[in-house]
Symmetry: C2
Subunit: 408 residues, 2 copies
């Protein structure tokens, strides 16, 4: 990759913290303010208030399935610019156990993180337990992948777990079929998700604490008719935000982006829009352009551990021997602590030695990059120059070589 793009980045510190000033009046959890909108696209910048403070959108959310974002401490996350992290209700319900987390003072206290936390239901993971789960209209019976013990997950149990965890944003139980599922199954999944959403909307007042937000989820795969129908249904329910599920589950990138472009702009403007489980820098650009506010993905953290580092000039596979003698940083223009201090040669050495320090340094860099990537779009939106920035970012990712080309 020849094009560096230092002019595209916000100031290094710009993505580092929530831009909300200390003097900004505290708003009730659930308040969502649209602060700027792109005149030429559905893209917008906003601010969502939670019981643990605001998040500035568009916002990328790192994944900490079991509580911790693997290898990082809360101050590492603050340093790279994470405003909110994700946990998984299914995983945490069993490890360490949601009653245990409650007894330890909730998830924030247990992990030492005082910013917002969003929890996914973990339904997606339970549906992936091949042969270990049985679905009915009320919920899903499953055996855990931890110890084979039998449990039942319903709209109610998911909210109960999230209440115990103390999540700021609670995702409801939904049914997410694979991307290549038959139309009949997609229809079933939508109908089942609707029943569960109605149940969750009724139950949340009794189960969740007043400050805990609850988001509905729209299914329907890449079938726009089904998506639109389900969106109308979910949007009519009193959720604090609306998510698109069922993307990045096996469909093509083109189909996913087409679905985003068609559906996201039709989502309610006055509530935050969240696309679950995406994605690549290119996916994030497509999502923001379509008017999405929030996203999560394991990509920056998982790929970091596997040796793939993201930069504005393309991906770097630190395992390659050509980095062995390279005294330069992963990205000379990057202001993260990893790039400010360590060479590619040292990172490769740590990776080769399986030193746990490698994972921390690499994860920190990749998260910094993702937060900068999204932060650049957020700032451009606020400053009324989104179109130009998005076009420049698009040129970067269009010529980005696929991961497979450099891996190995």
């Amino acid at each position: 990759m020849h094009a560096t793009a230092s002019d595209l980045r916000p100031h290094p510190r710009a993505g580092l913290t929530c831009e909300s000033t200390p003097s900004a009046a505290w708003r009730a959890p659930g308040t969502f303010e649209v602060l700027a909108a792109d005149p030429a696209s559905p893209a917008r910048a906003g601010r969502l208030w939670t019981a643990h403070g605001p998040i500035d959108t568009p916002c990328f959310m790192p994944v900490g399935t079991y509580g911790a974002v693997k290898g990082l401490e809360p101050e590492d996350l603050v340093e790279v610019g994470s405003q909110i992290i994700l946990g998984n209700a299914y995983h945490l319900a069993h490890r360490p156990g949601y009653e245990r987390v409650r007894a330890l003072g909730g998830l924030h206290r247990m992990i030492g993180w005082d910013r917002p936390i969003l929890t996914d239901s973990g339904g997606f993971q339970v549906f992936s337990l091949r042969g270990l789960q049985r679905l009915d209209d009320g919920g899903v019976d499953y055996q855990t992948h931890f110890d084979g013990s039998r449990h039942r997950m319903t709209p109610r149990t998911v909210l109960e777990v999230e209440a115990a965890l103390g999540s700021d944003i609670c995702m409801i139980l939904d049914h997410c079929p694979p991307g290549d599922a038959a139309p009949k199954l997609k229809r079933e999944a939508v109908d089942r998700s609707t029943r569960w959403a109605v149940a969750a909307a009724e139950l949340r007042g009794a189960i969740l604490a007043p400050g805990q937000l609850c988001f509905g989820i729209v299914q329907g795969g890449t079938d726009l008719t089904l998506r639109r129908e389900h969106l109308r249904t979910i949007a009519a329910l009193p959720f604090d935000g609306i998510a698109l599920g069922g993307l990045s589950v096996g469909e093509s990138i083109a189909d996913a982006h087409a679905t985003l472009a068609a559906i996201a702009p039709e989502m309610p403007t006055e509530r935050p829009r969240y696309v679950m489980g995406i994605g690549t820098p290119r996916d994030l650009l497509a999502a923001v352009r379509s008017g999405v506010d929030m996203f999560d993905c394991v990509m920056p953290t998982r790929n970091a551990r596997n040796g793939q580092l993201f930069t504005f000039a393309g991906k770097v596979n630190i395992r390659q021997s050509r980095h062995r003698d390279d005294p330069g940083p992963v990205d000379p223009g990057c202001a993260c602590r990893t790039c400010r201090r360590y060479s590619r040669a040292y990172l490769r050495h740590l990776h080769e030695q399986n030193d746990p320090l490698y994972g921390r340094l690499a994860t920190r860099h990749n998260l910094f990059f993702f937060h900068q990537w999204v932060g650049a779009m957020r700032h451009a939106l606020r400053e009324g120059r989104f179109s130009a920035l998005a076009a420049a970012l698009a040129r970067l990712v269009d010529v980005d070589p696929p991961a497979a080309a450099e891996a190995g």
Copy 2:
């Protein structure tokens, strides 16, 4: 363990940094000042100056075989009170390669650590390569445990590697036989070590940079006659410090401590005394009482990763299920960041999930403890109250249950 011992600790910050004040005049590398001596024992407090600044003794040195102290960044080490760290010339010579380290600006620059570094020759590790090494009077031929490649290690090559690494304190090549070696082999090892020491003393001026210190090593196992003879020989050579090797290599604790008690006080008083590869908190107490200034051991770091955490009230095995619901810190009296922020329950959860964050938090705690343990002695020496403190510390470790009793 019933006895907590908060009165025995120095102030939490006391062990955290080198006590040398910024206004202390910079001294030439190799300068060793004895700042206080216990009137009732050979114990003393001092300060050794290196090209990367002073270290206050007695001083515990964490081990970073391949450069990094596993999982920790330089600021973690500074925070817990590490003044100097160890590297291993054999390991670094092959991974990432000493010429590579030199090209990257030296070991300090590569790892981002600007305090002193001591490097062991790695001879001990090479002698452990069963069937893969052959010893002669000039050095040792070996095949690496990395890739089986053939190399030769001599007094000269060790210094050449250490020159390339830029170590502040360079240990010479010696021959360290197992603790249960026959008397004939111990004799041979002493004679060979002497020849190598003479060679190293002659070569250092031509190979090492002016500011790089070079320490001689005394062998002889637990045979006091042999030890004394070798000590006289090594002490007569122009080394900047003298080390006792060949302890903690299989002999009994009683024999090791008896050897320390007999030999350390006979080591030159005007040069720093270093005991290699020890040890437990009890070993460190015995060493300081015998007048030793420096020690290194993998125990705090390796045991941390295996779940064993040290406290002033005894050891904690974090894997035990009884910690599962414990909201308290590892040690309520400990001021390390791990204890200030995280519960035993969370540490156990991280350990169970194999989260790399566990290793960092646990290693940080154990190093903090070791630095506090030694720092308490250093401060007591300076304040003229070492006897009372040493007696109190001895009561703590004498009733400390052996590790096996709690592990499992």
